[in-house]
Symmetry: C2
């Protein structure tokens, strides 16, 4: 379970800083699939980075499965990130000198899996996103949408309990987007993973059970998604 | 006018290479506004990079305003790119150590404009994309959609005769997308700029007069866009 209590994030800049989150209260239960929407600059990525323990709030409390994240050491945070969380970055964040396969293998290094098992599981994840033929391409030998799909495979490969995806279909055409959402939906149903997806596409929000809207760093609505 | 004749692009890789464009014939008249759609990996960015003289075809001819681009020197190509073409990259490609304002000023360096005129015109372009308040942010102090809008302002600032935009609204929510398309449409009507937009959003293609669809590096359709 995720519990955020009066979370504020003020980036230091100039005299008064930039308030990206202005006081967020949010609870997400284990196994929920939630969409976050809001206009450009409304604080979606900032919120996702905090949920993923990649950044700390300026004030406020964040409890993840009952433990207060703000009280954790950097080592504990890194351990949670590596073992429990799959993160899809808005900018993909692939390592430029490693092939698609090696990029997807990276999270498995923390699990102590052997070389051949790492390669097998990474190849399986690349298969889920339709990129088996591109396993040995470097990121700059891949199209934008192909890089995004490698980033998605990397987030899924480690069997995370929590997936945080920042605009995961932003660079994809609609048919490829549907294929990716079918993979995420299947993992959600089979494994009960908690999923938070930032998106600006209403069709993607339609895959979730709940839609949270952000505006100027505040939650302005939090409603169930009505299934057609 | 843009004239492509049997353009092929084969990226060197492995034994047989990767064929990104398999023989493209295309004419775009001055002042046309064209959309290019196609699934992830179909060759859209490759085609746009060739049109923008950022890369050379493996075989085939490209004539820009009657001159054969393949016969030009690197210096001539750079001169055309800097003076005539505004390019919006799929990955934004902002310089990380420069503010939003300085990134937008960059193309003006080639025009011999003075410092204060550069700053005035760059500030105007940032105003068009709604980012006046963020002029002094570095790229990593901007959200994804804000970075994309800085890249758009940079492509427009130099009064290009040709704008090539690769998924210019990919990171934007729908309202911000409409604001950006309104800017591009206004410049198209006021100045008769030739515009080629790669997109996977049908709403964006709806702003254009013509829609070209790519599949596996080939043009599979090229139709007027029917206005509702
Ligand atoms: N430098 C390269 N070396 C090898 N293959 C490449 C290289 N650049 C691109 N490719 C391949 O060429 C094909 C076309 O790539 P391109 O970037 O043009 O696609 P795209 O239509 O823009 O896709 P997207 O919508 O995902 O951005 C892809 O399959 C890609 O893997
Ligand atoms: N390091 C930083 N320093 C200063 N301001 C920042 C920093 N990072 C983000 N911001 C600002 O915080 C606000 C929220 O940014 P955030 O990236 O969370 O927005 P977003 O909702 O993800 O937007 P988008 O849809 O464009 O990706 C933006 O106005 C941005 O300019
Ligand atoms: Mg964002
Ligand atoms: Mg592309």
């Amino acid at each position: 379970t995720i519990e955020l209590e009066n979370i504020k994030k003020i980036y230091p800049m100039g005299t008064s800083g930039v308030t990206a989150l202005a006081g967020i209260d949010l609870t997400v239960e284990t196994g929920e699939m939630v969409a976050i929407m809001g206009s450009s600059g409304s604080g979606k990525s900032t919120l996702l980075n905090l949920l993923g323990c990649l950044d700390r709030p300026t004030t406020g409390n964040y409890r993840l499965t009952g433990e207060n994240v703000s009280a954790m050491t950097k080592t504990q945070l890194a351990a949670i990130r590596n073992r429990e969380i799959g993160f899809v970055f808005q900018g993909f964040n692939l390592l430029g000198k490693m092939t698609a396969l090696h990029n997807v293998e990276l999270p498995l290094i923390y699990t102590g899996a052997g070389k051949s098992e790492m390669a097998r599981r990474a190849a399986e994840a690349l298969g889920w996103v339709g990129l088996t033929r591109f396993s040995h391409h470097l990121p700059n030998q891949l199209s934008g949408g192909q890089q995004q799909r490698v980033a998605i495979a990397r987030a899924l490969v480690n069997n995370p309990t929590l997936i945080l995806a920042d605009e995961p279909t932003g660079a994809l055409d609609s048919r490829t987007s549907l294929e990716i959402m079918a993979v995420i939906q299947r993992l959600h149903r089979e494994r009960g993973i908690t999923i938070v997806i930032v998106t600006h596409e209403p069709e993607i929000a339609g895959y979730c059970q709940r839609l949270i809207r952000l505006k100027d760093g505040c939650i302005i609505s939090d409603q169930p998604v009505n299934r057609p």
